[in-house]
């Protein structure tokens, strides 16, 4: 059976210009010299105070800005500082020493909120407790930099009249409207090697994205996908083997099975289109944020292609002038433990409005003690903000006060839901791709 050469038409995959913005997340050759976390908080307060200065001049030009020590009773003013949330149920390492060991089971509650939590605002000179109905402690976490307008009471607390939020950071507009549809695919939580993951489902995803599935129409759609971003938790290693003893050679190969399997999938993907892979909480990368890019030696097959890009977590890049910023979920999951909101998308919106990706770092979220920067401060608003490894798919278009537009995407875990996400670069619209194979 001869294949007629003229009837075969090669569909070209579209391409997008990719510019990485990850320098601030990379540790490079930095060596840990024993420094503490105070420098990160200093940077955070400094940067945010600079941004607040112009905001306050705009909105409240008449009110003076004081430091905490310069407060006077009854005088209305604005103070800028870092929040500290005093939480009754927050697990503390000192509890191990104070309580009797047998009595209380160390059950980890899902959420550490308590009605008695209160907020304290702190700057270089001192700290003051915030009171008032305007301030809802359950909406905030430690590490957020806020400006509050109010007055000091005779008790020494600060009665808040209004919270001045930083709002969405300024955004660089996309220079020109794209003329054709170009898509970016997002997936996270593949968890290759875990019991929950279905290899057939993952292979379906890979085949669809690379264009090996479907008729001409399907393949045309697949050819418009210019990039795939894998947002963390791609493998799940068997934790039982890592019991602390040296591994037998049989166990060693069992341990690396998931990574080898994943490399095969990645090679198929990388051969077809540009791939960005980000580390997640379960991946073989460092624990504290920013997680460094997964090492090339883990993917001997895929790293041979120049379309394979190993990225840090968080990950920031420009694709055809559309700004992307995303994480593998640790920042939002930590917010969910220490504050509450109706949906995960609300947490994402808050992090953008606070202009800080991970305010709980380094308090409850592991973080590298930088001395020269706080890499999580969001200085320019991304057009697309994605978070991986969430429970379900969700999306929202945020509008800022100065015309900023941000598409929020909550990417669900593929091993549990079988859902990947497609984003259209032209109009920032988003839709889920569901895969299911019932056997």
């Amino acid at each position: 059976m001869d294949i007629d050469a003229e009837s075969l038409s090669l569909i070209q995959r579209k391409q997008s210009l990719y510019v990485s913005q990850d320098e601030r997340f990379l540790l490079g050759l930095q060596k840990y010299k024993g420094q503490q976390y105070s420098h990160i908080y200093f940077f955070r307060l400094y940067k945010m105070r600079e941004q607040f200065r112009s905001l306050i001049n705009h909105q409240h030009p008449n009110l003076p800005v004081h430091t905490v020590l310069g407060l006077e009773v009854g005088k209305q003013c604005i103070i800028v500082g870092t929040l500290y949330k005093q939480m009754k149920l927050k697990p503390s390492v000192l509890d191990e020493y104070s309580k009797e060991r047998s009595a209380v089971p160390l059950v980890k509650p899902h959420n550490f909120l308590h009605p008695d939590d209160h907020l304290i605002l702190e700057d270089e000179s001192g700290r003051v407790k915030l009171i008032g109905d305007v301030v809802k402690p359950s909406d905030y976490v430690t590490g957020v930099v806020l400006a509050v307008h109010g007055e000091e009471t005779s008790d020494g607390d600060f009665l808040v009249h209004k919270i001045v939020e930083a709002g969405l950071p300024p955004q660089i507009k996309i220079p020109q409207e794209a003329k054709e549809d170009k898509y970016v695919a997002f997936v996270s939580g593949l968890s290759v090697g875990s019991i929950k993951s279905n290899p057939l489902q993952i292979q379906l995803l890979v085949d669809l994205l690379t264009g090996h599935l479907g008729d001409d129409k399907e393949q045309n759609v697949a050819s418009q996908i210019t990039r795939i971003v894998i947002a963390g938790n791609s493998v799940e290693l068997q934790q039982g083997l890592l019991a602390g003893q040296s591994l037998a050679s049989k166990d060693q190969s069992k341990l690396s099975e998931p990574i080898k399997e994943f490399d095969l999938l990645l090679t198929q993907l990388a051969a077809a289109m540009p791939v960005d892979i980000m580390p997640g909480p379960h991946d073989p990368a460092n624990y504290s944020l920013p997680q460094q890019p997964l090492h090339k030696c883990l993917f001997p097959g895929a790293s041979a292609y120049n379309t394979f890009v190993s990225s840090p977590n968080p990950h920031s890049f420009y694709l055809d002038d559309v700004g992307f910023l995303g994480t593998s979920g640790q920042n939002i999951d930590d917010l969910a433990k220490y504050s509450e909101a109706k949906e995960k998308l609300d947490f994402m919106e808050r992090t953008l409005r606070w202009r800080h990706l991970a305010p709980t770092a380094p308090d409850t979220l592991g973080c590298y003690p930088f001395t020269d920067r706080d890499p999580f401060v969001v200085e320019s608003c991304p057009h697309v903000y994605f978070v991986g490894n969430q429970n379900k798919y969700g999306t929202q278009l945020l509008k800022g006060s100065e015309g900023q537009l941000a598409r929020l995407i909550s990417i669900p875990r593929f091993c549990e839901t079988g859902v990947a996400v497609m984003l259209n670069l032209r109009n920032l619209e988003c839709h889920p791709l569901s895969f299911s194979c019932e056997t």
Binding site: G34, S38, E124
Partner: protein
């Protein structure tokens, strides 16, 4: 104590294993309460980089640098060398004093902050 020959001559001054005074018997305080020998219960004087740091006549350069360390507006000083902290303040546009920079780059001044090694 075992004596180790070799390049470790400095180490003995650093990690002093015997007090400078060499008094093996604890001396009883005299009736008037005045102590003339060193009391073994008291720790030896604060050692900083191998030499006792009681001297009050550190030079003026050090005084300027210490004031730079203590200045709150440039951020915390522990964990960075003074030059790194100056560079950081400069990059952020805080305009740190130029004479601090010349002192640090001149080479005579202590590069580590006031609390280095003590905290």
């Amino acid at each position: 104590m075992a004596s180790v020959r070799g390049g470790g001559g400095d180490i003995k001054a650093f990690y002093r294993q015997r007090k400078k005074n060499n008094n093996t018997k604890p001396s009883k305080p005299s009736k008037s309460g005045v102590r003339l020998d060193s009391d073994p219960a008291q720790p030896p004087a604060l050692l900083s980089h191998g030499s006792i740091d009681i001297k009050r006549d550190f030079d003026q350069c050090e005084e300027v640098l210490r004031r730079f360390d203590m200045n709150m507006s440039y951020g915390p000083c522990i964990g960075l060398t003074r030059l790194e902290r100056w560079e950081r303040a400069n990059k952020l546009g805080m305009n740190p004093p130029k004479d601090v920079e010349t002192l640090l780059k001149g080479g005579n001044a202590g590069l580590d902050c006031l609390w280095e090694g003590r905290v």
